[in-house]
């Protein structure tokens, strides 16, 4: 990813350059247009002035005088035969001079009513060719010897003459260019300033991002409080996403802390019990030794389950196979049979169909054995446990129902957490069996749910949403 600062700076600088170019071009075009209008107006005023001074019937002398006045020193006007003077074609005055060097770009011509040239000012004639005769009135562009002229042509009815005034285009162009350039220079000179300001403003605008990262970076690892730094609107989402993440992290860590505390409790309590019963045995208590043995059995169970949980948590997908639940179930129930018999419990299996699922036989064994074990342990002597497997639209469901005390409704959801067990049960367990079952079920794409039966007892359902009957 590119840096936002670099992106903003580059694009803004480019935009600025583009705007400069556009602005200069617009200035050029507008100035060009406006100047053309001013010059056109100037031409028409000059034409009016000249016409007002023209006599009704100009004599050859009048044309000659005009030709003399038009003499610019280095270039002279030309008299044509139609003016009545045939002896000289160009008139030179010793006193003629150029008032201004730009005068060369302005000139004038007179034609009679048959469009024969009378007097044509400097620049509009050469030795062999004069500018074309006027044909119609109005403003027009004229090409003459490679130069463009803006011209106004009028016919003066009083003197019966065509009058044409012209300004060389180059003159106009030069003015326009100068105006446009004069506009460009300040912009070019201000460009470094504009770029520096942009850099500063971009840096300032992006500062809240730096502040936010600094606050996150400087945070103590134990500090899981929310980020309260005021941020601009655009960063609100980022901040709340960070805060949500912190909350999730806090919850996970809290769960870990509780797990450690619970594990300590589950391991140390049987140890403490064992020690004290051994002390009692030493002091001569007769039934203390079997009690110490019970402590050892409990400790062993907790250790076994913790190790199982650690293995389940490692998430290895070894030996995944397509296997039939039916023989597995029979095997597991047969395994539990002696336990049930010892406590006069009835262990029932309903017709179990063949259902193939993908999974690991050992892990499925641990999962179902845990559920059966729970059912047997929490069912009183002489109770009943029903195992059934059936299929419907929602998938395949293994149901284990016992006639035990069930679980208080408010604890149904928390009892699958590690080390949670229903509070008022006298049977001791590590509180890990259900969380192991939960983890294994999730790995096998199955859903484990607990409900209390209406007539008492717990119903445990293990549902594979997609399993197929063979």
């Amino acid at each position: 990813m590119n840096s936002i600062r670099r992106y903003l700076f580059r694009t803004l600088a480019l935009s600025l350059a583009l705007i400069t170019v556009l602005s200069v071009t617009a200035t050029y075009l507008i100035t060009n247009h406006e100047l053309e209008e001013i010059l056109d107006a100037q031409l028409s005023l000059t034409a009016r002035e000249i016409m007002s001074f023209l006599p009704d019937q100009p004599t050859p002398l009048d044309y000659r005088r005009l030709a003399e006045r038009l003499d610019q020193g280095d270039a002279s006007a030309r008299l044509y035969p139609a003016s009545g003077i045939t002896s000289q074609t160009s008139v030179h005055l010793p006193s003629a001079r150029l008032y201004h060097h730009e005068e060369r770009k302005l000139t004038i011509g007179l034609w009679d009513n048959q469009a024969r040239p009378l007097v044509v000012g400097p620049r509009w004639h050469s030795s062999d060719e004069s500018i074309a005769a006027p044909q119609s009135e109005g403003f027009s562009w004229i090409e003459y010897q490679g130069k463009r002229w803006r011209s106004l042509t009028v016919f003066d009815a009083q003197s019966d003459l065509w009058l044409r005034l012209g300004i060389e285009y180059h003159f106009l162009e030069e003015i326009v260019e100068r105006v446009a350039l004069n506009h460009l220079w300040p912009m070019l000179l201000l460009l470094p300033l504009a770029l520096a300001m942009m850099l500063y403003l971009i840096r300032r605008g992006l500062d809240p991002i730096h502040q936010l990262s600094r606050q996150v970076h400087d945070r103590n690892a134990d500090d899981l409080s929310r980020i309260t730094l005021p941020v601009p609107q655009e960063l609100h989402d980022l901040r709340s996403a960070l805060n949500e993440f912190i909350v999730r992290l806090d919850k996970t860590l809290e769960r870990e802390r509780r797990f450690t505390a619970d594990a300590a409790h589950e391991l140390r309590t049987p140890l403490a019990a064992m020690k004290i019963h051994l002390d009692n045995a030493e002091a001569g208590e007769r039934d203390a030794l079997p009690k110490a043995q019970r402590g050892i059995a409990r400790l062993q169970r907790v250790v076994d389950q913790l190790l199982t949980l650690a293995r389940v948590d490692r998430k290895q997908f070894a030996d995944w196979q397509h296997l039939d639940l039916r023989p597995l179930l029979f095997e597991l129930v047969a395994e539990s049979w002696p336990l049930a018999e010892a406590r006069q419990q009835q262990l029932h299996m309903h017709d179990i169909p063949s259902v193939y699922i993908d999974g690991n036989a050992v892990e499925l064994g641990i999962l179902i054995r845990n559920l059966l074990d729970n059912a047997l342990r929490y069912t009183p002597d002489g109770g009943r446990i029903d195992v059934a497997l059936h299929q419907d639209n929602s998938g395949t469901t293994l149901t284990i129902q016992d006639s035990g005390p069930g679980i208080p409704e408010d604890q149904l959801t928390t009892v699958t957490e590690r080390f949670r067990r229903a509070s008022d049960q006298s049977t001791t367990g590590s509180g890990l069996g259900l969380s192991i079952a939960m983890a294994l079920a999730a790995r096998h794409g199955a859903i484990l749910s607990l409900t209390n039966a209406e007539r008492g007892g717990l119903i445990v359902r293990l549902t594979w949403p997609s399993a197929q009957m063979s």
């Binding site: 505390a261 300590a264 409790h265 589950e266 391991l267 140390r268 309590t269 049987p270 140890l271 403490a272 019990a273 064992m274 020690k275 004290i276 019963h277 002390d279 009692n280 002091a283 208590e285 203390a288 009690k291 019970r294 402590g295 409990r298 509070s423 008022d424 006298s426 001791t428």
Partner: protein, 223 residues
């Protein structure tokens, strides 16, 4: 010496009760904090052993409830070993803190210490004139001579010696010695008093007729 034991684990609770009783305590054992608090309102106890992980309420809440009502010495028994947990326990008013698993002898010694501290004594031996009672070794000497006492006799003498001169009522003494709900012979207390008078001195324990007994300070002080 009557102990209130609050421990939800059946196996550990059972073992502790046996061990404390062997030490001469009358033990009332509860698995839930609420029941223990109820008992505390009705009965006198010398010391409390409290587990923190209880099913119905947090042990620390039980502790603050106990602290609100009195100065019963409380020893916390727990698997929670984090330092901040211990600090919280002690700040909540526990007199001592023992981690599971523990040595029984250490637990008993700590119980003696917190009881002694509650009684405002620095030594574990009670010296009263010609009488001295060592609570750790259960040794009693009278005028410099060691006297052999049974467990109950020792407990009765210790209770009287803890509050010399004070009249302790019959029901209170009975419950301190035997615990709540214990079946006892109607004259069990008289038998113990009779034995103590015989083994030590006739005038040592005064009968306050119809009410109870007290340790006669004058008889202890002057030969």
């Amino acid at each position: 010496m009557r102990a209130l034991l609050v421990e939800d684990d059946p196996l550990l609770g059972d073992g502790l009760k046996t061990a404390l009783e062997r030490e001469g305590y009358a033990v009332d054992w509860f698995q839930q904090g609420g029941n223990a608090l109820e008992a505390l309102k009705r009965e006198p106890f010398s010391v409390m052993v409290l587990d923190l992980g209880l099913p119905d309420m947090d042990g620390l809440d039980v502790l603050s409830e106990v602290r609100r009502s009195g100065s019963l010495p409380v020893l916390i028994l727990t698997a929670r070993d984090a330092i901040d947990q211990r600090i919280r326990g002690l700040d909540a008013g526990a007199d001592d803190y023992v981690l599971k698993p523990f040595e029984l002898q250490e637990l008993l010694a700590r119980l003696r210490v917190i009881r002694r501290r509650a009684a405002g004594r620095a030594s574990q031996t009670i010296h009263l004139g010609r009488l001295s009672i060592d609570e750790a070794s259960h040794q009693v000497t009278w005028q410099g001579q060691a006297v052999e006492l049974s467990r109950r006799e020792f407990a009765l003498l210790a209770e009287l010696a803890h509050q010399p001169g004070q009249v302790l009522s019959r029901p209170r003494l009975e419950s301190l010695l035997y615990g709540w709900g214990a079946e006892l012979e109607s004259n069990a207390l008289e038998v113990h008093v009779h034995h103590l008078r015989k083994k030590l001195d006739r005038s040592l324990i005064t009968t306050v007729r119809g009410i109870g007994y007290r340790l006669n300070i004058e008889a202890v002080e002057t030969p």
